[in-house]
């Protein structure tokens, strides 16, 4: 652990053996505790994706935690208004570190049908870093499931030391879109 110029501690780059990194990525991939952050109409499709017909729990996404402390996936589903933006930012900061954000619906992607409204934040990525954007107004539950599968691919190919070393603030890229099911 070295302390660099601006005082932030840096985990110096350590080569993690392949199986260990695979196992850790695999466990983060299949245990995405989803934090219910439903704002507007997309929250209804977000609930519908956890229901019998689409059943998001098949992918290992468990919609249990009610407190941001225990969650690691935040799905911003709905319109982020200027009055709500600070609350979104604060809840995002409450979540423990390896956290991922899915921006669901065109309202949170870029303001959507409210592109000319005087009180809507045009896109949630102005406040928090977003991993996967799910287009649609509202996106179908299958759309959200596909967004989660793409996120799981991203997690599977993630490089943990890179993520924890602090200087990799940028969002890790999606490498290949391999099949998700099974190990």
């Amino acid at each position: 652990m070295t302390v660099d110029g601006d005082g932030r501690q840096r985990v110096h780059r350590v080569r993690l053996p392949k199986p260990v990194s695979f196992l850790l990525n695999w466990s983060r991939k299949y245990s995405l505790w989803m934090f219910q952050f439903g704002l507007a109409c997309c929250s209804i499709e977000f609930i519908a994706s956890a229901m019998p017909k689409h059943d998001i729990m098949r992918l290992g996404v468990i919609p249990f935690p009610a407190s941001p402390r225990q969650a690691d996936l935040m799905v911003v589903a709905g319109t982020v208004t200027d009055k709500m933006a600070p609350a979104v930012k604060r809840v995002y900061e409450q979540m423990p570190e390896p956290k991922y954000v899915i921006s669901m619906g065109s309202c949170s992607n870029c303001g959507g049908p409210y592109w000319d409204s005087y009180c809507v934040t045009k896109g949630v990525d102005q406040i928090i870093p977003v991993d996967v954007y799910v287009p649609g107004c509202p996106p179908r539950p299958e759309g959200l499931l596909y967004g989660i599968v793409r996120l799981q691919n991203k997690i599977q190919n993630e490089d943990i030391p890179e993520r924890w070393s602090g200087h990799a603030a940028k969002i890790p890229q999606i490498i290949g879109t391999g099949r998700s099911g099974g190990i």
Partner: protein, 334 residues
């Protein structure tokens, strides 16, 4: 044969080793019960539940949860009472796993067959109350304070019917040692013929002790977000609340199986050759399934109704049960 084995077990080193094996066996047991709960809940709700984690029916789902919680950042809010905040998971885990010292898994496999086994088991199970109350106070968060107070009030209120229901069983078996209680049920398990009321009271009180629906006010997601454990993250949450709750549930189910369903006694005498531990695991599994079933059907009780149920219904009922058992005992019917 009994006393030689007894003598070996009494030896402290072996005792420690046995204690550790049981504890180590508990952790995978929580993973299994966690997975069973996810699947049973899902099928009750007309859906599939975890499928892809570990390819075949998501068997590795709770394993993935556990591994993931290890990697999570461990947040300790600045306003919390640091030492107490980090101590809570140990208390709740201790409280939950102490009951396994006296529970007889089979005729020979019991860690310490205390003469006051039942008394010890019930006393140990009430340590969890301190953990939740302290978690509520240490997290310096309004919601967890309310959660902690609710938990304390509820667990104390349900300690009484739990103990009184167990007293009736002890009276009928004539001893507090769990092994002799199970031996006394050689003909028919108490739960079925002599103590049906006691069995129901014990189950209700056990659900309340483990704070599961319909008594899960302290961890009510809807109102006070995960109650006393709102501020806990990563391993403290996984260990302190998640695993401790499952271990406490298994402990209570094991106790209920031992007292009322005849522990390791074979259900059908013809199948006597099957080892005791198989029966024990089957009966505990039945009680665990019952707890899961209740959890996913009933709404939550408000805590004043909850207290009313404890003080005005369960305690008088269990006292009456003791009276009836005593009368039958005197008349030598049981």
């Amino acid at each position: 044969m009994l006393d030689t084995v007894h003598h070996i077990f009494a030896n402290s080193v072996v005792l420690l080793a046995a204690r550790l094996t049981v504890l180590l066996l508990l952790l995978p047991a929580t993973l299994v019960v966690g997975w069973v709960e996810l699947k049973v809940m899902a099928h009750m709700q007309h859906r599939l539940g975890p499928m892809y984690a570990g390819a075949y029916h998501g068997w590795a789902q709770t394993l993935a949860d556990g591994l993931k919680f290890i990697q999570k950042e461990d947040i300790i809010p600045t306003a919390t009472d640091r030492a107490v905040f980090t101590m809570v998971p140990f208390i709740t885990m201790l409280g939950a796993s102490l009951t396994f010292v006296v529970i007889p898994f089979s005729r020979r496999w019991v860690i310490a067959d205390l003469d006051v086994g039942l008394f010890y088991a019930l006393a140990a199970s009430s340590i969890g109350v301190i953990g939740v109350l302290v978690a509520g106070w240490a997290s310096a968060n309004k919601y967890s304070l309310m959660g902690g107070l609710r938990a304390a009030a509820q667990l104390i209120a349900y300690e009484l019917p739990l103990v009184l229901a167990a007293v009736a069983v002890a009276m009928q078996a004539g001893s507090l040692s769990l092994v002799s209680i199970v031996e006394a049920q050689h003909a028919l398990p108490f739960g079925l013929w002599a103590q049906p009321v006691g069995f129901l009271i014990f189950l209700a009180a056990a659900t309340a002790e483990v704070t599961r629906t319909p008594f899960d006010m302290p961890v009510a997601e809807a109102e006070i977000i995960t109650g006393a454990f709102t501020e806990y993250s990563a391993m403290k949450f996984a260990f302190g609340l998640f695993a401790a709750e499952y271990i406490a549930m298994i402990g209570m189910s094991a106790l209920a199986a031992t007292l009322f369903l005849g522990g390791y006694k074979p259900v059908v005498p013809v199948l006597g050759f099957v080892p005791g531990i198989v029966w024990f695991v089957l009966k505990t599994g039945v009680v665990i399934f019952l707890l899961i079933w209740i959890r996913w059907t009933f709404p939550r009780l408000r805590e004043d109704q909850l207290q009313k149920l404890a003080w005005k219904v369960l305690i008088p009922l269990s006292l009456a049960n003791i009276f009836v058992t005593g009368a039958l005992k005197l008349a030598h019917w049981i």
